[in-house]
């Protein structure tokens, strides 16, 4: 496909940017949005932009959201681009979600489980009624408090795993592939699939996950556990020779427990899907876990009949920055190609008209 280089738009582009800046600001009589306001009060937007931008930095995400006028895919794009200007210092040690300081932890498979059901600041029970009082800018009442139990909350997979009911996790010491360094190639290992899902578009993954529940590669999932909270991040700088704790991240984790399968050599067990994402993004974590499980179809001896089970289909289309790049590239000048199409269509029409005239 030939793109035409076009000159002469510099003034128009400059003026477009100036108008964009004005539109972005909106009515000057209205107070300008501060980054701190976005960071504090639009936390879910921040989390989505960090996850899909694949860069955990709430202040940068706030700036990107302001710059993109709230267009979250555009904001994620900005973070992806900004990432490339920063050197990588280290790989962190894998985070330990078992020692998460969970603000929220629920399970749909056990009612009274060790650690209990803690709702956290959830929307689940809000009835989805628009609250017009929020237009009044009144301070909210203080959150209630109770005496906490600070002991670590056991993982549901560990609870199930004790009886051998749940398939085991893989080897703990493998060095993972990295999509930021090597392009995706197939067959893609689970490590790279999970990385792609974690930075994948929430809407796409939601639809794919939903499709698995509607019979497109169904695996009868149960939400074994969802937890959200802070985990510490540790790195081991070579100059120190020991690991240090550099700060906290909020993550959401989902363990899906799926229909059990057995084989001649193995007793029936529940199989698993896993979701892990930056920030408080439950919908994304749950969708990710559904799609993770679906993409393991081949490994688990299941027929691949549905889009969500096809890693090439899912992973080639899950990155919204890649997707928007190609969709929006159609705006680039395709004048020459179109001219030749135009000529083709005219020629074909002529041929038909001539034939009809002759009859």
């Amino acid at each position: 496909m030939a793109y035409v280089a076009v000159k002469g738009g510099e003034r128009a582009i400059r003026n477009a940017h100036a108008w964009l800046a004005e539109e972005r600001r909106g009515d000057p009589a209205v107070a300008e949005l501060g980054l701190d306001q976005i960071r504090e009060q639009l936390g879910r937007a921040i989390d989505r932009v960090m996850a899909e931008g694949s860069l955990y930095d709430p202040d940068l995400a706030a700036l990107a959201i302001k710059q993109a006028q709230g267009d979250l895919i555009e904001a994620a794009f900005l973070l992806r681009a900004y990432r490339t200007t920063l050197p990588r210092f280290a790989h962190a040690r894998p985070i330990d979600t078992a020692s998460m300081r969970a603000a929220r932890r629920i399970s749909a498979i056990f009612k009274d489980l060790p650690g209990g059901q803690t709702l956290g600041p959830t929307y689940d029970y809000t009835h989805r009624l628009l609250d017009f009082e929020l237009a009044e800018n009144q301070p909210p009442p203080d959150a209630a408090r109770a005496r906490p139990d600070l002991s670590p909350i056991p993982r549901v997979p560990d609870i199930l795993g004790r009886e051998g009911l749940l398939e085991a996790d893989g080897p703990v010491d493998a060095e993972p592939g990295d999509l930021t360094r090597e392009p995706l190639s197939f067959p893609a290992g689970r490590d790279v699939r999970l990385q792609a899902l974690a930075r994948g578009d929430e809407g796409f993954l939601l639809a794919m996950g939903y499709s698995t529940q509607r019979g497109y590669g169904g695996s009868h999932p149960f939400a074994g556990e969802v937890r959200m909270g802070e985990v510490s991040v540790e790195i081991e700088p070579p100059e120190l020779g020991f690991a240090i704790d550099i700060g906290d991240l909020t993550v959401t984790e989902c363990q899906m427990v799926n229909q059990f399968k057995g084989s001649k050599t193995q007793l029936p067990q529940f199989t698993r899907g896993y979701g892990l994402v930056f920030g408080y993004s439950e919908r994304k974590a749950m969708s990710m876990a559904l799609v993770d499980r679906a993409m393991r179809a081949a490994e688990l001896g299941e027929d691949i009949t549905a889009p969500a089970q096809n890693p090439e289909f899912v992973l080639y289309h899950s990155d919204n920055i890649e997707a928007t790049g190609f969709v929006e590239h159609l705006k680039l000048p395709h004048y020459v190609d179109f001219q030749s199409e135009l000529q083709n269509v005219r020629r074909l029409r002529e041929a038909v008209e001539q034939r009809e005239a002759a009859e």
Partner: protein, 155 residues
């Protein structure tokens, strides 16, 4: 960071103060150092510079590692006149914080200064951080469901 008791770790004290410093605001570090007799002089060896750390998760939570995404990190290495080197790696982008944390790390390695610095700088910061964590835990605890037994409701 876990407050669990574990096997003897020769670096435990330093890991603890570095963890506290990594979460402390720049002003608090500077005030704590100044309180203890003014800021020393130091040479910057590396940084302060902003970069990335790749965060990893584990499949299933405890299985094979995978790359989750990157986070911003600021690091700095300084050297005091005494020759002691201080290092800091802190989440986020804050060059001044990283430099001050590195200076504090160096000072805390000096046995002559460590005691009073722990009292004036690390302890108050650690207490404040623990308060914050406790506050969140209390709010979470209030949202823990207490299931009623059906029998109780009917009677």
């Amino acid at each position: 960071m876990n407050d669990t008791v574990s096997s003897p770790d020769p670096h435990a004290a330093r890991r603890h103060w570095m963890s506290v410093l990594a979460r402390a605001p720049a002003d608090a570090i500077e005030a704590g150092l100044a309180r203890d007799g003014g800021l020393p002089s130091w040479t910057v060896i590396r940084g302060p510079e902003i970069g990335l750390a790749m965060v990893r998760g584990r499949a299933g939570g405890s299985g094979s590692p995978f790359n989750l995404g990157e986070m911003t990190v600021t690091r700095c290495t300084v050297r005091l006149e005494s020759g002691i080197a201080g290092h800091a790696y802190i989440a986020g982008r804050d060059e001044r914080r990283a430099e001050l944390a590195a200076v504090a790390d160096a000072l805390l390695q000096d046995p002559a200064l460590a005691g009073s610095l722990h009292e004036s700088l690390i302890q108050p910061l650690a207490d404040a951080q623990r308060e914050q964590r406790l506050s969140r835990a209390e709010k979470a605890a209030a949202t823990r469901v207490e299931f009623f037994a059906m029998r109780t409701m009917r009677s």
